[in-house]
């Protein structure tokens, strides 16, 4: 609309007109140059140079860990072990997805472990001890998680208590409440063959399930990338070249079908993994493709800027803590399902530490505004692979903690370095 006005300007203001035409024309040229394959490559190099490593360190860690453990013990990459791994990551992984949301705001939620334990206890007491229908008990447990998250978010967002302190108090209080709810009996065994029991024990034995999911994922990935690129080309903005899309789709297909093949060698597609993937894909969409998600990212990148843009910062913050509480409750149910009981050790602090570590190792920035739900999956894969390998080798958990701690430190160092280089890059 303003192109005509701009050229108007150049003719009416004869003095500076010719001098100014130069850079403007330059600018248009560089805009066009950006659209080719070369522009795309330079975009990637720019990202790497300015420290946006994203998922690379996580993927690299998984490759190294799997290689090392496979050399040490040939059972490590067996279908049985990998299938179990894929189920073991789900409980803590769901909690970690909630942590991703909170970290994107640049905040922290230390209460997630205790909340997951409390929610599982609420479920067990309602369902097992009091005979409440299972679906109703599940809803109650999830609502407890959501409500706790919202309350903590309220104290943080509207009263201004640092999230660190609110959720630290929560960590203690909700753990105490869980022990109180569990009562004297201490441990409540879940009903076998029940809904929650099935969460981590049900497998789709038909091989078509895993392969079908792999095919669906691949096709969906291709269609969305292709559609996006076509729209971009039509609008003359930077688009992925077709060869790129083909290569990426190929990579997705290889990974998806390899996973499906391995899972089918054992019991088939685990229900837990299916649910986890659905949650990750769904929330990734919410974060990156909706206004709500954009608000979360923008608060993480600048609270004041977001407020001045007319966005209700407090509401977004409360809702994010509610999301974190909800996912903690869901994760708690999966963890209870895995051991078929809820005991006094449910919701330990190790859970909270692992879920935060998973998010950070997976590439979420502690400084807010950078990360994706996929990071939770990737980070959990790293952590759970270490745990599973150590278990196979018969090494004590003490060593496992030390190694996981080391990986976490490395991830945080990378995060800080990349933030530093991003700040200095191009600003000199």
């Amino acid at each position: 609309m303003n192109k005509s006005e701009a050229s108007d300007l150049n003719t009416t203001r004869a003095g500076g007109g010719t001098a100014r035409a130069g850079p403007a024309a330059d600018r248009r040229q560089s805009a066009e140059g950006e659209q080719g394959f070369r522009g795309y490559v330079s975009e990637i190099t720019r990202k790497l140079r300015s420290g946006e490593l994203g998922a690379l360190p996580g993927v690299f860690s998984v490759v190294v860990i799997w290689t090392v453990f496979q050399i040490l013990d040939h059972q490590f990459l067996s279908p049985r072990n990998l299938s179990n791994l894929s189920v073991d990551i789900v409980g803590t992984g769901l909690i970690a997805v909630g942590i991703v949301f909170v970290l994107l705001l640049g905040e922290i939620d230390l209460s997630v472990g205790s909340v997951s334990g409390l929610s599982a206890a609420v479920f067990a007491v309602f369902n097992v001890n009091n005979g409440v229908p299972e679906w109703l008990a599940v809803i109650a447990a999830v609502l407890v998680g959501a409500a706790i998250g919202a309350v903590q978010g309220f104290f943080f967002a509207t009263i201004g208590v640092p999230a660190f302190v609110v959720t630290l108090a929560g960590l203690l209080a909700w753990n105490g409440l869980m022990l109180h709810v569990l009562g004297a009996s201490g441990t409540i065994n879940l009903r076998p063959q029940g809904l929650v029991y099935g969460l981590t024990n049900h497998y789709f034995h038909n091989t078509a399930a895993a392969y079908g999911l792999a095919a669906l994922g691949t096709v969906a990935f291709f269609v969305t990338s292709y559609h996006d690129a076509r729209r971009r080309r039509a609008a003359e903005v930077l688009a992925r070249p077709l060869t790129e899309i083909a290569m990426r789709t190929g990579a997705v297909a290889v990974i998806a079908f390899a996973v499906a093949y391995v899972l089918n060698q054992f019991e088939g597609l685990p229900l837990a993994l299916l649910i986890f993937l659905a949650v990750v894909v769904g929330l990734d969409f919410v974060l990156r493709r909706t206004k709500y998600g954009r608000k979360i990212f923008s608060i993480g990148g600048g609270v004041e800027a977001t407020r001045r843009a007319g966005i209700n910062v407090a509401w977004v913050r409360v809702s994010v803590f509610a999301v974190s509480g909800t996912l903690a409750a869901l994760g708690g149910l999966f963890l209870a399902s895995r051991v078929a009981s809820v005991g006094q050790t449910a919701g330990s602090s190790i859970l909270m530490i692992n879920s935060i570590a998973a998010a950070v190792i997976g590439g979420v920035s502690l400084f807010g505004g950078r990360g994706r739900p996929w990071s939770a999956l990737l980070g959990m894969l790293v952590i759970q692979s270490i745990a599973s390998g150590m278990l196979l080798l018969g090494i004590q958990t003490t060593v496992q903690y030390m190694i996981t701690g080391g990986v976490l430190l490395a991830a945080v160092v990378l995060d800080s370095l990349s933030r530093h280089s991003q700040k200095s890059h191009g600003r000199a």
Binding site: M1, N2, K3, E5, A6, L9, R13, G16, A19, R20, P23, A24, D26, R27, R28, S30, A31, E34, G39, E43, R46, S50, D228, R231, R232, A235, E236, V237, L238, R288, R289, T290, K291, R294, F297, S298, G300, G301, G302, E304, A305, T306, R307, R308, A309, G310, I311, N312, G368, G369, R370, Q422, K423, H425, G426, R427
Partner: protein, 261 residues
């Protein structure tokens, strides 16, 4: 001008604890008029901007919009009226890219889903991106990696996007180069032709003389004179800024101000 001003401030007061940042401030901005707000450091200019944009609402006083009193308690209120601001502390989101910042709070959606393609295309078409030749490597870089001038351009583009009736610019040329400033002043003239009221805060009296119709002087949080640019000398404005009454002092200070330009 005898028409009703689009925006009028009456008796605005604002305190920060014991500090009286603004006392009984009056200001009027008409459609298609560029009002310059000048004053020494700490005079309360930025505070007044935040009052108008709802970022830091006034303690007392009335704000009138087209002659009717309105309440501006939050940024959202100002936006709904049609007030956009570029702040001295730029207020951009470090981790969002240029497109994300330009459209923050006004994202284009198709069926509830962010339409990145449409937003990116419109960002490229914005007049500033073109005429100011800011040479942003790509509209997809996070603003954290942009230079001060580039950030300023992003902030101004962002303000223009909402098609405001009143545009408030708090020292917008501070980080711009000579050529960019010239383009920017042209832009202000075009905005005036479109009937937008502009409140321009600047330390550069040369810029003020070049584009403003009216000059409002703020001194120690109070109004210290309104001038018509055409009929007022630079010295008069400077003495009003510094509050000097004595002639010799006025001249020396005026000289100092001119030396700064």
């Amino acid at each position: 001008m005898s028409t009703t001003p689009v925006l009028a401030l009456r008796g605005i007061c604002k305190r920060f604890g014991a500090v009286r940042a603004l006392t009984d401030v009056e200001l009027e901005i008409h459609a298609g008029e560029v009002v310059a707000l000048v004053g020494d450091n700490g005079a309360g200019k930025s505070t007044l901007v935040k009052v108008i944009t709802g970022v830091g609402p006034a303690d007392e006083g009335v704000i009138e919009w087209n002659g009717r009193p309105v309440r501006i308690h939050r940024p959202h209120d100002a936006q709904t009226l049609g007030i956009a601001g570029v702040y001295q502390d730029l207020a951009l989101c470090e981790s969002l890219d240029v497109v994300g910042n330009v459209f923050l709070g006004h994202e284009i959606c198709t069926a509830g889903v962010l339409d990145e393609v449409a937003m990116e295309r419109r960002t490229r078409e914005l007049e500033l991106m073109d005429t100011l030749s800011i040479r942003i490597p790509s509209v997809r870089v996070p603003v954290a990696s942009l230079s001060a001038g580039q950030r300023q351009t992003v902030a101004i583009s962002r303000a223009l996007l909402s098609d405001p009736k009143i545009l408030i610019l708090d020292e917008p040329t501070a980080a711009l180069g000579v050529e960019q400033t010239a383009h920017f002043l042209d832009l202000i003239e075009r905005l005036r032709e479109r009937g937008i009221g502009v409140l321009l805060i600047s330390h550069n009296l040369g810029d003020v003389k070049a584009v403003a119709d009216q000059v409002a002087v703020l001194r120690l949080g109070r109004n210290n004179g309104f001038f018509d640019v055409l009929t007022t000398s630079q010295e008069q404005i400077v003495s009003s800024i510094t509050g000097a009454t004595d002639n010799a002092i006025t001249h020396r200070k005026a000289w100092a101000w001119e030396a700064m330009l």
